[in-house]
């Protein structure tokens, strides 16, 4: 056994073994990397990317300003300023909606917490910016992200739907999409 070890050392057996491994990769060259900006890896359908606010098919916002996402968020990303829809005291919407994406950890708890499915996670991930203030998104930006990622929107909920009945009683003057 001792002799065998000696012979192996003298013949650089281990080094030869390693060099054989690298050479076999060299000869059977098959890269496992992607040329990233040109080729992109396909994402799984449940990928948790950039957050977005959604609308119904008639262009009205889904968000009812209930603050549940703000409560669910573990990193305090979301800040909702809720308000009554003018002229309809029974109905609320988010007057302002801020997300500080520098802190977001993409856990998806806000999406789960939303009772009216107003939040969605998109497949966007290329959000590197030069100024980190550009990652503090307001409601218009979040809606725009939702518009470009979900072109086919959900039908408006029925009046009798329990969520809608609970959160939004009337629908006369819900804010329209800003053109």
């Amino acid at each position: 056994m001792k002799l065998k070890e000696w012979v192996k050392t003298l013949l650089f057996y281990e080094i030869a073994l390693g060099m054989k491994a690298t050479l076999s990769h060299f000869l059977h060259y098959k890269p496992i990397t992607l040329q990233y900006p040109h080729e992109k890896k396909p994402l799984p359908p449940n990928y948790r990317g950039m957050l977005a606010l959604l609308r119904y098919d008639d262009g009205t916002e889904k968000c009812v300003g209930c603050d549940l996402c703000e409560a669910a968020c573990p990193s305090r990303v979301i800040r909702v300023v809720s308000a009554e829809v003018p002229g309809e005291p029974t109905k609320r919407y988010s007057k302002e909606y801020y997300m500080d994406m520098t802190r977001c950890l993409f856990c998806g708890l806000c999406v789960k917490a939303c009772p009216v499915d107003a939040l969605g996670m998109t497949q966007e991930y290329e959000w590197a910016v030069y100024d980190k203030r550009q990652l503090q998104l307001n409601k218009q930006q979040l809606l725009a992200i939702g518009d470009r990622n979900f072109p086919v929107r959900e039908k408006r909920l029925e009046f009798q739907h329990p969520n809608v009945a609970y959160f939004n009683v009337g629908f006369k003057e819900i804010p329209q999409k800003e053109q």
Binding site: G18, M19, T22, F26, I32
Partner: protein, 357 residues
């Protein structure tokens, strides 16, 4: 008149060799990244030009236009001298390398050897001497930068070069004993006529395979390549002795490293693998009736052998991790040195008992 012709011929020869070496360096910078990438299941540089083949041009332009920074507190004179001290010895060694048949051409009454710049009778000594001067560039570059990483890199390199230059020198002694010459042209000519005459396989009576292994290990250490790249260990010393260098000065160190690689490959080819001699007796060009192209075949074989050794450098880099510093020293002094000395003793016994073999 003769002096004028000789000067013109030698200058054009030097120019041709320099251009060839620098072009090889440019190609090597790309090839190294490509080969390393392929061995590690990556693609290497792919952006500049088709398959990244213009990457050396982009690198060169970038280095050329970079700001030339001299750190505060640096010894300005030494700091600017060090890259030159490192580059010149790396390039000057090619003057004695024979890269083609040992012909003498008569050009206007001047005896001119087209395939070696100068055939001095102490060629091996000359290369070793200039390799030692190259160490000054590294040490001074590390010392004059006024940075702790550079200093550590320079000190490491000083210790490493001294230990391993000894082994390089001693491993070549066997070949010198068998060929009884220090001239690289004479050594090459002694290995003519098939690969069994190469000193690696036993030309001259005693195979120098062990000496070659010692030489190639020490050569890797002397050119500061992985697994002996302690002077520029990225993970410990940022970039070692050239941490503070930028722009063209950095490019000089880079050129010197690759130039040394090519030089060491050339020396290994000439001393152990028959230089430009093909591995079969005679020449292939004569068999197919192109006798005037023998020189092309010789140069081709020389380039092929050198290319193999350069590939070996990349291959080792892709395979082996860096040694620890005490391992490096112990290996150099306690393993390689006795082996090299033993090889000298055996070779001299054989050369004494069977002279002229």
């Amino acid at each position: 008149m003769d002096t004028g012709i000789r000067l013109a011929l030698t200058l054009s020869q030097i120019g041709a060799v320099m251009v060839a070496v620098l072009l090889t360096v440019a190609a090597l910078t790309l090839l190294e990244r490509k080969v390393l990438g392929w061995m590690q299941d990556r693609m290497g540089p792919m952006e500049v030009g088709p398959y990244g083949i213009l990457q050396p041009v982009a690198d060169g332009l970038k280095l050329f236009f970079k700001e030339d920074i001299i750190p505060a507190g640096a010894n300005k004179f030494m700091f600017s001298m060090a890259p030159v001290l490192s580059l010149v010895p790396a390039l000057i060694g090619f003057a004695v390398i024979p890269f083609g048949p040992d012909w003498t051409v008569d050009v206007g009454g001047v005896n001119f050897k087209p395939f070696v710049i100068t055939d001095i009778n102490i060629g091996v000594l000359y290369i070793l001497a200039f390799a030692s001067i190259g160490a000054y560039g590294i040490i001074l570059g590390g010392w004059s930068s006024n940075s702790k990483y550079s200093l550590l890199g320079g000190l490491r390199s000083a210790a490493q070069l001294i230990s391993y230059e000894l082994n390089v020198g001693l491993s070549l002694v066997g070949v010198l004993l068998l060929s009884s010459s220090l001239s690289l042209v004479t050594i090459t000519n002694a290995q003519a006529g098939g690969f069994w005459n190469w000193y690696f396989f036993g030309g001259g009576g005693f195979p120098q395979a062990v000496a070659f292994v010692v030489f190639i290990i020490s050569a890797v250490a002397e050119t500061n390549r992985t697994p002996f790249d302690l002077p520029e260990a990225e993970s410990e010393l940022v970039a070692g002795f050239f941490t503070e260098y930028s722009g063209m000065r950095f490019a000089f160190f880079f050129l010197a490293e690759y130039g040394n690689m090519i030089l060491v490959s050339c020396v290994a080819t000439v001393l152990f693998f028959g230089g430009w001699h093909p591995p079969y007796p005679g020449t292939l060009m004569e068999y197919i009736g192109l006798g005037h192209l023998i020189w092309l075949e010789g140069i081709m074989w020389f380039v092929l052998k050198v290319a193999f050794f350069l590939f070996l450098f990349f291959w080792l880099r892709a395979t082996l991790p860096r040694l620890r510093y005490d391992q490096l020293m112990r290996f150099g002094w306690k393993v390689l040195l006795p082996i090299a000395l033993g090889n000298i003793v055996l070779t001299s016994i054989v050369a004494y008992l069977f002279p002229g073999n």
